[in-house]
Amino acid sequence: MDRTTFPGEVDSSSARAAESPAYRSRILRRRWLCAGTLEIELDRPSGFTFVPGQRIRLFRDHEAREYSLASAPGDPFLLLCVRVVQGGRFTPWLASCPEGSEIAFSGPCGYFVYRRSSWPACFVATGTGIAPFVSMARSGLWGFTLLHGVRFAEEVYYREVFESRSALYVPCLSSAAAAPGLPRGAFPGRVTEYAEKVLSGGPFDFYLCGNRDMVRDMTRIVDERFEGSRVFVEVFF
């Protein structure tokens, strides 16, 4: 496998803006990626910059939520990938408010960014944990391995972003045993099962983004099967 390459210049100084004053933005568009998961396009305030993989913090009333950006730094808008929590205090509003609604945010923050390396990158995501990798791919990153863990075939979103840029792209469907037919290139099982039974080579630079069970299990697998690899983590709680 070729080493992962990232031709774009990364503006590392933008990380220092994590404590910058809140920006005011508007919700421009929404589209359902699958049942329960929205892609939200926000107006990008002038002067706002970030590094692919970083997050912003949205504010509404007295609530705040952090989301990784799925857009590229060169895009004229900001993209978020949001799982709508039924009965929640934040995401139902994001899903139902009128387009054009104002929303404040701060950031960018976080260090879950691609680091140049002589080792290939292996991205592992569950659900909306795919967002930082969408941003990296849209920014020109290519040659990586991506394992995307979802439950059902219809949750395999952003396939078109990754198929042309990845060295290996494997949607992992945890409910595949109970569902008829597998999408092209998909693996019937969790990302951790794929990493434990199928993934070969290494060492890798592993980038893990998703729920803590996946992060815990993947870290164990890295320690046991991919000695010498590096691990970067972004946990969704």
């Binding site: 140049r116 815990r216 590096r230």
Partner: protein, 189 residues
Amino acid sequence: MKIYTGTGDRGKTSLFSGERVSKADRRVEAYGAVDELNSVLGALAAALEPDQPGLVSEVRRIQADLFRVGARLAFAGDETDGPALPELQEEHAAWLERAMDRMEEELPPLKGFILPGGHASAAWAHIARTVCRRAERHVVSLRDGQAPGTASEAFRMLIVYLNRLSDYLFLLARKCNRLHGQDDIPWGG
């Protein structure tokens, strides 16, 4: 929000730069000592509150600086890719020097060795000073094994800061005793 992930249950941890290392690794020892120092400073601030808001504010600022120290120590090698770490600068050590100059003007000249202790806040400051010296020794050890480069320059700055901080904490201990009407305890040896 649950804070545990279980990724360290087998005695390994991830450095900020991604390397999986033993929790007995020298870097983990080093940033662990800095974390311990920060916690002791928290106890010191608690012993000072509420009657010394100015000193508490100084201690809080140092606690924030120590997060920068810990972040650098959790970063292996010279890698500079990605968002920049909030690094310590010369100004951080200079700020400690100015704070020490102010305290020295208020304190009587030291005429010999003194025993650590006195008021509770002074005792915490002395404990913090000794933990700070331990953290400094760990960083010196890391620096000694580091080839010249970005990391070695960053370690040099950390050593300057921790050396200065130890002196600051010694003076702060004396000031705490003075604020609470206690004299230095001279060593009778």
